[in-house]
């Protein structure tokens, strides 16, 4: 069951990620990205990270992607038929990205022995199994209190910056 779910969600994720990158119309691209992010949220649920999965759906799909769609509407450039969607260096870019991915997968698979699951899972506290949200919240407010506050300041700064940047007279 886990295997089946993993491969289904992985297929959704990869296919829609490819569509996101190749789609001609930005609106379609955004909608494909929504699907890809939902697949990713499913993977988070599969990894028993309910809180991160829920935050993913609420913040990414509900917040950030709506923002993207709004901006696409605001700057709607007319679709020009036959206009290039790739820039001039795209051949080099594809080659470099292929090299990068082959290299990364080579190292990940080569080091797979380090990542065997059974080795670690037994005998350790199972704080993830029970009440995931409660435990994440507790951790956020104890061990990670300072980063949490800094994150809130970061969000405030980003909000002010976005308002200033999008003003009429700049």
């Amino acid at each position: 069951m886990e295997v089946f779910l993993f491969y289904t969600l992985a297929a959704i994720l990869v296919v829609f990620a490819i569509f996101t990158v190749t789609a001609r119309n930005p609106v379609r691209s955004a909608l494909y990205l929504v699907s890809a992010l939902l697949g990713m949220a499913g993977l988070f649920f599969l990894l028993k990270a309910e809180f991160v999965g829920a935050v993913q759906i609420l913040v990414y799909v509900g917040g950030i992607m709506v923002l993207f769609l709004f901006v696409i509407m605001l700057v709607s450039v007319r679709e020009v038929q036959g206009e290039r969607r790739a820039n001039r260096q795209w051949k080099t870019a594809v080659v470099l990205a292929t090299v990068l991915s082959v290299e990364l997968i080579f190292f990940v698979v080569g080091g797979a022995d380090v990542f065997r699951t059974e080795a670690v899972k037994q005998g350790v506290i199972t704080q993830i199994q029970t009440a995931n949200t409660q435990n994440v919240g507790q951790m956020l407010y104890t061990n990670y209190l300072l980063p949490f506050e800094i994150a809130s300041i970061l969000l405030l700064v980003a909000m002010i910056g976005a308002v200033v940047l999008a003003r009429k007279e700049l």
């Binding site: 605001l74 820039n87 990205a97 997968i105 994150a151 910056g161 999008a166």
Partner: protein
């Protein structure tokens, strides 16, 4: 030959390991890299960056599951926060660019190109 193939299939379809998640996240990250490097539309480039940040989140959560340590999930939440801030500022820049240059294509935005 057949045996090694069976072995390979067993590893692939046997039990889902952390390595599976790492390979998946590598693939998604590479797709994001291709998007950032090849597309002309700034908005799609920003979306590819979101894709890359998300694949890193998958890594963090996978290792959190493997090590049975919640820190990875907390960091994933922080990454989502930073991604939200980045998207807000980036889209603000896109709007002000469009207002001044009437374009969202990166190869037409060459104001600082000497």
């Amino acid at each position: 030959m057949v045996e090694s193939l069976l072995d390979f299939l067993h590893i692939i379809f046997g039990q889902i390991d952390t390595t599976h998640y790492l390979v998946l996240s590598t693939i998604v990250f590479s797709i994001g890299v291709v998007g950032v490097l090849t597309r002309r539309n700034v908005i799609i480039i920003l979306m590819s960056i979101e894709l890359m940040l998300n694949s890193v989140n998958l890594n963090l959560v996978a290792f959190s599951d493997r090590l049975q340590d919640l820190s990875g999930q907390v960091f994933a939440v922080f990454v989502i926060t930073v991604a939200a801030a980045e998207a807000a500022v980036g889209l603000g820049i896109v709007i002000s660019l469009f207002r001044n240059k009437e374009t969202v294509n990166v190869d037409q935005i060459d104001l600082m190109k000497g």
